[in-house]
Amino acid sequence: MNTLIRKGIRPLFNSTIRASCRTFADVNINEKIDKIVKDNKVVVFMKGVPDAPRCGFSNAVVQIMRMHAVPYVSHDVLSDENLRQGIKEYSNWPTIPQVFINGEFVGGCDIMLQMHQSGELVEELKKVGIQSALLTAEQSKKEEKK
């Protein structure tokens, strides 16, 4: 009997509750996220906060942003379950962290890392009027040589 409850009824029960709660949240969270990513040039949805990331992948993204000295807005998905689910649906991307530049989804940790390594990130930032600190450092080096 116990197993029956555990296997049959409980998941059903859980999913109904979840489904009914979600319909309320869905509309709001989508609009909320849309506003967040469109009002800011660079937005990072991550686990934890930049000073104390709670996931290695999120930390990697924070470190990349720091290296380029990018001003960004961060949102902690661990403190808001609605946001955590909402962001995955908004961008149709299953994992956290997620980076948005100029309202557009750019990628997660893997993509940020590769863009950083290939120099693509510097270009993307330039497009939205952010000068990467790495680029600034490089330019000042060149000037010194002259």
């Binding site: 996931c55 992948f57 990697a60 991307w93 989804f105």
Partner: protein, 177 residues
């Protein structure tokens, strides 16, 4: 600095073979007990579990003992491998279970890294390649797989690369389930 500790995949493989040795021990010790062994998938998570079903001598009650298994290629890993192989006709495919690096039960299948080399990626931007892989593994990602790190290359890119895969950044404890 970035926490991209460059580790050759050998390190991962070593870890795996250790884990497999563990598994063998568990199975053997069960066999010694003359118990029926069933490998069953737990409904609420993706970790394969060994159920030991045998009657308790004292009171005759059926005793179920759960042992989390550390399986080199578990149920989820296999399904990931099959799906990617079938959909992308990969010329090289690695499915690495990195769950042991994280704050999850031993033997869990929650954190994966996949290395996919396929000519189907030709001409696709990185984000599209990742989306393709994510789409193929949609079911897994909704049911227990919590992190998926993707290396997606075309055969040409793979042949030209050093074929060294960076290990994923270490956990920071935030497995906020």
């Amino acid at each position: 600095m970035l926490p991209s500790v460059r580790a050759s995949r050998n390190a991962t493989i070593d870890k795996k073979s250790n884990i497999q040795a563990d598994k063998k021990d568990v199975v053997q010790s069960f066999q010694r007990l003359d118990c029926e062994i069933k490998v069953k998938k737990r409904s609420h998570s993706s970790c394969p579990t060994i159920y030991q079903t045998g009657k308790n001598k004292r009171n005759g009650q059926r005793k179920i003992h759960l042992v989390n298994m550390s399986v080199e290629s578990g149920v989820v890993a296999n399904s990931i491998r099959n799906k990617l192989q079938n959909s992308l006709e990969a010329t090289h495919l690695d499915v690495i279970n990195e769950s042991y690096m994280h704050n999850v039960p031993k033997g869990a299948e929650t954190h994966f890294k996949v290395v996919v080399v396929s000519d189907k990626f030709d001409g696709l931007a990185l984000i599209k390649r990742h989306r393709l892989v994510n789409d193929i593994l949609k079911e897994e990602l909704q049911n227990g797989v919590h992190a998926l790190s993707i290396v997606a290359k075309t055969t040409k890119q793979w042949d030209e690369s050093e074929k060294i895969i960076d290990s994923s950044p270490s956990c920071r404890g935030g497995f906020g389930k």
